[in-house]
């Protein structure tokens, strides 16, 4: 009797331990639709609702894509604390790191209480669009912290337009930490080679490359991770963005523009303008071993690069210019991939005003500038200052009227990406000529 009682009580303890583990993941009860409708009418009733629009007793659970150790993570942690002090809204920040790409969806699907989350502007709408609260009313309203102006007018027009476009005509997310993907170059090496202005056409680009080669450095390099972007940008300048998207969607690379792009790069290899290490660079070798060490002058990448290789590039003189135009049938220097991270507010949140207040806290004023300064990134507010390393990138950004997809769609399908990576590196080693590279792409079938 005694023995079996002991065993039974041990078993009960084990069961209790198991259920305790489970209760941590119990989904929050699904909120009724009433709060959302109520808050919407609240916003409409007082379009100039300042901080009094924040729901009393609000608590925000914020899942972010940053790690706490990253500069962005550190600024967010500080900003959340200051926000809590300033408004009394309890902040619970969850620093997921990039794992958020895998963990957010199951959490949202299970009804877990998450009010605010952030990720890449494309990913927020593509992956979690079903959970987003439409923000048009909130965005067009004026606030104290936007100096009585509508929120939309005090932040980057390019990005708000992008958010509207991605949301199918409705703003479903608020971008922040914008970036643009363009040529980043070493100004010192350019000065050394006697280059006085940035190239606008491919011929000017080849001149620049020739001067750089004469001065003893490689003109441009690429990492395996960005080969699709390099090829995609070239192709875009020959056939245009729409055709690029079509080619990848239909897996049809029979257009003569593809061969032209391959020939341009074959020429770059033969002239010695593309570093031979492009064939062997496994990311981040190209940016860390070559570009940061100033053995290469140009690198097609995003404006996050100065921050990414901050440790390896003290005193680096940064410059940017637009990817040059090639043919009149393609896009010109106004076409680039740009985007950013962005905030999404859960449509089931009980505190939409508090969540939007935090978004304003991060995208306008002190913390927007701080985020830009600490992460060498781009601020959202129109009156904020860009980091000095991205001064030239600002010009490219302001003049980009056409938005290319990431890598001009070349990474949309891994089948295309792998063939481009193979082809480009074989061009460098000489295993392929331009025709063979083009043929390997034409061989792709749906």
């Amino acid at each position: 009797m005694k023995k079996s009682m002991r065993v039974l009580s041990m078993f009960i303890v084990l069961l209790m331990a198991l259920t305790a583990c489970n209760s941590g993941g119990t989904p929050a009860p699904a909120p009724t639709p009433a709060p959302t409708a109520g808050d919407a009418s609240q916003a409409e009733a007082s379009p100039a609702a300042e901080d009094s629009g924040i729901e009393p007793g609000a608590q925000l659970v914020y899942w972010t894509m940053w790690n706490e150790a990253e500069p962005q993570g550190q600024v967010i942690a500080e900003a959340a604390e200051a926000f809590e002090k300033a408004t009394g809204v309890k902040m619970d920040v969850n620093f997921n790191g990039r794992d958020i790409r895998k963990t957010l969806e199951p959490a949202l699907a299970a009804g877990e209480e998450i009010d605010l989350f952030d990720e890449d502007v494309d990913r927020v709408i593509n992956n979690w669009g079903a959970y987003l609260l439409p923000l048009d009313d909130l965005v067009n309203a004026s606030y104290d912290d936007t100096n009585g102006q509508p929120y939309r007018s005090v932040v980057s027009k390019t990005l708000m337009d992008l958010a509207e476009q991605l949301g199918g005509g409705s703003i479903q997310q608020i971008p922040y930490q914008p970036f643009i993907f363009t040529v980043m170059y070493n100004k010192d090496l350019f000065d050394n080679a006697g280059i006085t202005s940035s190239p606008k056409t491919w011929d000017e680009f080849l001149d620049v490359c020739a001067k750089l080669k004469e001065s003893g450095v490689d003109a441009i390099t690429v990492d395996d991770a960005y080969m699709a972007a390099l090829f995609g940008y070239t192709l875009d300048r020959i056939v245009g963005a729409e055709k690029c998207a079509e080619m990848v969607a239909n897996l049809d690379f029979s257009d003569p523009g593809v061969l032209k792009a391959c020939e341009l790069w074959e020429n770059m290899v033969n002239e010695g303008y593309l570093s031979t290490k492009a064939a062997t660079n496994v990311w981040p070798a190209g940016q860390v071993d070559e570009f940061a060490k100033s053995t290469v002058a140009m690198y097609l990448n995003g404006t996050w690069l100065p921050n990414e290789i901050k440790e390896q590039t003290p005193g680096f003189n940064w410059g940017s210019f637009a990817w040059p135009a090639i043919e009149s049938t393609g896009d010109g220097i106004e076409a680039h991939n740009y985007g950013g991270q962005s905030y999404g507010i859960n449509k089931n949140t009980k505190y939409p005003n508090a969540a939007f207040a935090f978004v304003r806290w991060m995208t306008v004023g002190e913390y927007d500038q701080k985020l830009a300064d600490e992460s060498m990134g781009v601020p959202m507010a129109n009156d904020a200052t860009w980091p000095v390393q991205l001064a030239e990138a600002k010009e490219v950004f302001d003049n980009s009227s056409i938005r290319l997809a990431w890598a001009a769609n070349m990474e949309d399908d891994p089948e295309v990406n792998t063939v481009i990576k193979d082809g480009l590196s074989k061009l460098v080693t000489g295993a392929y000529n331009a025709q063979q590279f083009a043929d390997s792409l034409a061989a792709l079938k749906k």
């Binding site: 078993f11 069961l15 299970a110 992956n127 991770a225 990474e411 949309d412 891994p414 089948e415 792998t418």
Partner: protein, 301 residues
């Protein structure tokens, strides 16, 4: 009285384990297998949104160029890698059990790479050993007056990854072989020695036949590792897939969770589930085939 008590205890102790097994292992396996016959976009999509697709996922995969490349990659790894790694492991095992000195030291050293995390090993191989300028291999080659080799170039990247992986796995398989060899009675060798057998004859006529069961175990273990080959492919192509390093599980990862760089790649969890099922089937088939081959060779040691 005693028998009844034992049954109660058995049930009480087994139940938590069985519940855990069913929840954590059986349920996901069954769900994944079912998922592989439906068009499912994301892992957490509710079942009501799944649409029946029959064997469509499997057909699409076999039509996909990238999947075929990944299968070719693991076939090369399994065949060439398996033969080389198991042969070297067997060689080391035979040497270490033949009475050399410092046996324990060599055993530890050869097993050491297996103890170190794969991520650390892969990073070291990729960034140090294979570096084109200051890497270990190219330094040695330059020392002997040769030309530096592009270890991480197209095509060679696959073999570099295979070498780096195999290097770490030799120790693991060697230990299994050693335990097998040590179970062979020393009388056989003594008797053979008296009859005048040399080292090679002892190996081919005594060691190898008596190791059939151990060889089978090693082949199955190697197959399981190759079917689940993921980390090294990820390390040697860190940001997106590459023809030289893609394996079915790498492809599955991207299908289920999306690409890490582009946010536009379509997620296809149904296809990912199909890959998972296929890999499991692969291991089961190899296991059955090797068992059938070695079934009638039960030797009483």
């Amino acid at each position: 009285m005693i028998r009844r008590k034992n049954t109660k205890m058995i049930v009480i102790f087994l139940t938590p384990a069985l519940i855990l097994y069913a929840l954590v292992f059986l349920y996901p396996v069954i769900r994944t297998s079912v998922m592989s016959f439906f068009k499912v976009e994301t892992v957490s999509q509710p079942v009501s949104e799944w649409s029946f697709y029959g064997v469509g996922n499997y057909i699409d995969l076999f039509r996909s160029n990238l999947f075929n490349v990944s299968m070719a990659n693991i076939l090369r790894l399994w065949l060439v890698g398996g033969v080389v790694v198991l042969a070297i492991a067997l060689l080391f095992a035979v040497i270490l059990t033949s009475g050399v000195r410092l046996k324990r030291f060599f055993r530890s050293v050869i097993y050491l790479p297996n103890v170190i995390s794969a991520v650390a090993m892969g990073t070291m191989w990729l960034n140090y050993v294979y570096n084109i300028d200051y890497g270990l291999f190219n330094n040695v080659i330059k020392f002997f007056g040769g030309d530096p080799v592009m270890w991480t170039g197209p095509v060679t990247l696959f073999w570099s990854m295979a070498i780096a992986y195999g290097f770490g796995m030799v120790g693991y398989h060697m230990l299994i072989f050693i335990s097998g060899i040590e179970r062979i009675g020393i009388d056989y060798y003594e008797a053979a020695g008296i009859e005048g057998a040399n080292v090679f004859q002892k190996f081919f006529y005594i060691t190898l036949p008596l190791l059939k069961g151990v060889v089978r175990s090693n082949i199955v273990i190697w197959t399981v590792a190759i079917a689940g080959f993921f980390v090294w492919g990820q390390l040697f192509s860190p940001v997106n897939l590459s023809n030289d390093t893609v394996t079915p599980v790498n492809y599955m990862y991207e299908l289920v969770f999306g690409a890490s760089s582009s946010a536009n790649t379509a997620r296809n969890t149904g296809a990912g589930a199909a890959i998972g099922v296929m890999m499991a089937m692969l291991v089961v088939i190899v296991s059955i085939v090797t068992t059938l081959i070695t079934r009638h060779d039960d030797v009483e040691l």
